[in-house]
Amino acid sequence: MQQTRSVELGTGLFVLLGLAALFFLTTQTTGSSDFSASEAFVVTARFENVGSLKDRAPVSMSGVTIGRVISVEFDPHGLNAVVTFMIDRRFDEIPDDTDASILTSGLLGSQYIGLQPGGSEFYLKEGSEILFTQSAIVIENLISKYLFNQDSDSESK
């Protein structure tokens, strides 16, 4: 009897573990968030173009990750993208005229938000909005700009 019980228990555990693994694989969203909501404050920024910025992308300053993107949404009234992200509470002395830009890590890497500190005496806090933003660089625009510039150069000669 004891034997049967331990067999049943082991089987149950095994099947449960297997199903949990399957669930994990199908959802894939269990990111290890090293910033929990209690230890961070939330800041928003508006961008003309966010490129392919995704949720949970890193927010970095001087190359060090200090926060994470929570959501990327389109604002139907302002006709631009609103990016909400959180910053670790330890970094509470970031000037409120800080500049946020969407950058790409490496040539083909993922996109992240880079912060450039400003010079204000007031600091970013829960709910503040970053006013100075720079959109993601769209390669097509860059190329067409370059081509048109060349065109006008050759005409002026």
């Binding site: 089987t11 573990l17 297997g18 990111g31």
Partner: protein
């Protein structure tokens, strides 16, 4: 010479056909066993699955760790080490998880099945059952077959998840890849169909590995040497069948 080749070809065809018929007989007996003798199946899930957990998890963890190291060293040449999560997930979910699990399963559970059934045959236990009007196919073979079929997809999933944890440990904790980028890029580039492909593969491999193990044990020559030969053949044939099928399923899925 030519005649010998011809005969061995005919022999192969006969064995192959007999295997198909054996498979159909197992399938035909499956529903009644599932309904009436489910306890037998549970015991075999324990033997084939729960007892294989340790080897599966340890191997999965280290395979994932190696993927982390290798992925880092090759991806960092393109400055794309953030893609290490994608790299590990694709390799584990679609190929390494199902295939290595099937090979380990053949070594851990398949050999146990083949030698157990072979020994039952060698010691006339199967004949004794027949004399008591118990069908050994239903009482002995079907539960073992089903236990393997149920266990394999679960084991493969566990293998993949522990592999991802290993890749995460090496990539993020040791080599300093960003944890967010690791999971974010993985989630962005993996599609549900990739996961399903791995699950379908592991299910097919489970059927093949269990079928071959049960078949080899059932058809073992009832001597000590015959049982040992059947055990060896189980591993060899399962490995060959799994790798050929893996190629075929991948070709179809693409």
């Amino acid at each position: 010479m030519l005649r010998e080749i011809w005969y061995s070809f005919i022999d192969f065809l006969r064995t192959f056909g007999a295997l198909q018929l054996f498979f159909l007989r197992l399938l035909a007996a499956t529903p009644s066993i599932f309904v009436h003798r489910f306890g037998l199946v549970v015991t075999q899930v324990y033997n084939a699955g729960a007892l294989s957990l340790v080897i599966i998890m340890v191997c999965g963890f280290f395979v994932g760790g190696v993927l982390g190291l290798q992925g880092y060293s090759s991806l960092s040449k393109f400055n794309a080490e953030d893609a290490i999560g994608t790299f590990a997930a694709f390799s584990l979910l679609k190929e390494l998880g199902p295939v290595i699990t099937a090979l380990l399963f053949a070594g851990r559970a398949g050999t146990a099945l083949a030698s157990e059934i072979g020994l039952m045959k060698a010691t006339d236990q199967l004949s004794a059952m027949e004399m008591m009007a118990i069908n050994p196919l239903q009482r002995v073979l079907v539960p073992r077959f089903l236990g393997g079929v149920i266990s394999m997809p679960l084991l493969a999933a566990i293998f993949s998840v522990t592999g991802l944890l290993g890749a995460h440990l090496v990539g993020v904790n040791l080599l300093g890849v960003d944890a967010g980028a690791f999971w974010q890029q993985m989630a962005a580039s993996l599609e549900p169909s990739d996961v399903y492909e791995g699950v379908i593969k592991s299910f097919v491999f489970g059927v093949v590995a269990s079928l071959l193990a049960v078949w080899e044990g059932y058809n073992a020559i009832p001597t000590a040497e015959g049982v040992s030969r059947a055990t060896t053949r189980t591993v060899v044939i399962t490995a060959i069948a799994v790798l050929i099928l893996d190629f075929m399923i991948t070709a179809i899925a693409l």
